[in-house]
Symmetry: C2
Subunit: 307 residues, 2 copies
């Protein structure tokens, strides 16, 4: 039987070979090697993460790098080098590989990231781009998803939902924002919202061994989520919780850090919204309705079915 | 117009962003980061690097890792961690992802490599597996392809050609052999033969700014290359020079290292054959015929066309 991506990855983490050369392996936004090096590795594919016909190769290339930079941001790190493995459709338009790499390189250059290697292939399949990014942790070391503690403030950057209307291609990885959070004080847990706030909050809670209360009325709902709700028959909140591909940060912060960062603000005026709090494990995951009542948070979001 | 892979990569190397955090970037078997960390990144795809229907997911997964371990061997390094990005066909047989990862993990475990992260996706396209491997250089530092000098002995491990009959799926990455070469003495240049001896020798010569004489009668021709020649209308030598996917090592060695390693032999009895010598740049690439005459070495081998 096919498994969900979450079950598959959980099982892999338990059985794949380990080594002392790896401090943090499968399960966080990026791995942490023995000397602290961060390694993120994400693939994007035509028809799944973008539609090449609509967005063109340059934006596809940009996204392939951006999702990895978002992973490095989610570790509180600084990216250094990118490696790009290409599966190019043999019948693609002339110049598509150059355009793709130029789109990727422009984003790399803006963040001081070298494109240091990779692999170029053509085939009869659609375009797939796998990127690996290495980086260095910030002064506080790597910020994992597993350190959330009861009483922490849960905060998210930006606005959520409706990303597939276009933001998923052009979002800015929250590198400066993550750095500012860590500069403001301790950050107990950090991850990027790639599969929807509900699912990614559940991942943080599971990794940290805690519960969480998410306040529906505080979740920052994007204009695109409201737009999508007009035709989807779902609520804007539903889109904000489950659409995924937001690439915003979800942080568990001690109150002192939350208050410090609220005074200074984030770089570029990026919003940071308090959406709830971390609770003891026994309280589970609770969605607090606007009327103050609570219900179990339905953990759903984007997951690949794994054959 | 579509470019050859070699032209495309050469142009990329010239224009992609660089950084002081990367010592060796695009163009060698693996990159070398500032602290010496090696990073190799290769993708294998159904229909191009394997036929899933024939080989099954476990051997495909094994190959995806093996080609990267071969790159680390070609840098004289020891692999530490692997990162695996999967594009799985949504309609694939149940259990294919587990089988793939188990095939990969068995090889990883044998070489002490941790599987430390990655990305799991499903889509409507065929199977593609992108693997990134990090490693550490040996005591002599990273062995580049750019250090060959006039007078060096050119030597190759194993036997060449006809790999697609099966060896390309089950080859043993030459990690122990590379380590033994470096233990025997200086190694001026090293790479793995992935696209055919002729093309990969040309790459070494170009990177090193040298010429080379390759002696046709000395090239170790595999039994599979002889077999392939019986039906292809090409000579066994032609297969050995151009088939690619050999994943054997090509080394440029000072005479002292060649003589030392000839005395000790390589681990497991792997053959090491002297196939020619490095010459000054002006002499170009020469194939010495069995009758002693020379002709320009035709530089051909497996190259992807890049759209």
């Amino acid at each position: 039987m096919a498994a969900s991506e979450r079950e598959f990855v959980r099982a892999l983490a338990a059985r794949m070979p380990r080594s002392a050369a790896v401090r943090v392996g499968i399960g966080d936004d990026a791995a942490v090697l023995g000397d602290g090096l961060l390694v993120a590795c994400d693939m994007v594919m035509d028809g799944t993460h973008f539609r090449l016909e609509e967005c063109g190769p340059a934006r596809a290339g940009r996204k392939a790098l951006a999702v990895n930079l978002s992973d490095i941001a989610a570790m509180g790190g600084r990216p250094e080098a990118a490696f790009v493995a290409l599966a190019l459709p043999a019948g693609g338009p002339a110049g598509m590989a150059d355009a793709l790499m130029d789109g990727l390189a422009a984003l790399a250059a803006r963040h001081g990231v070298a494109v240091a290697g990779g692999d170029t292939n053509s085939w009869e399949g659609p375009l797939a781009v796998a990127v690996t990014v290495t980086g260095r942790p910030g002064p506080r070391g790597p910020l994992l998803r597993s350190g959330a503690r009861g009483g922490d403030v849960l905060a998210v950057t930006g606005a959520l939902g409706g990303s597939r209307a276009g933001r998923h291609l052009d979002f800015e990885p929250r590198l400066a924002e993550a750095e500012a959070l860590a500069a403001a004080g301790e950050v107990h847990a950090l991850l990027d919202i790639s599969d929807g706030l509900a699912l990614d909050l559940a991942r943080m809670a599971e990794a940290s061994g805690v519960g969480a209360r998410l306040e529906a009325a505080r979740v920052p709902v994007s204009a695109e989520a409201r737009g999508a709700a007009r035709s989807s028959g779902r609520t804007p909140l539903d889109h904000a919780l489950g659409d995924g591909e937001d690439f915003e940060l979800l942080a568990a912060l001690p109150l002192a850090t939350w208050e410090a960062v609220r005074r200074t603000g984030l770089p570029g005026g990026t919003p940071l919204t308090r959406v709830g709090e971390v609770t003891p494990l026994a309280q589970g995951l609770v969605l607090v309705r606007p009327d103050g009542g609570g219900e179990p948070l339905e953990v759903r979001g984007w997951q690949h079915r794994v054959p």
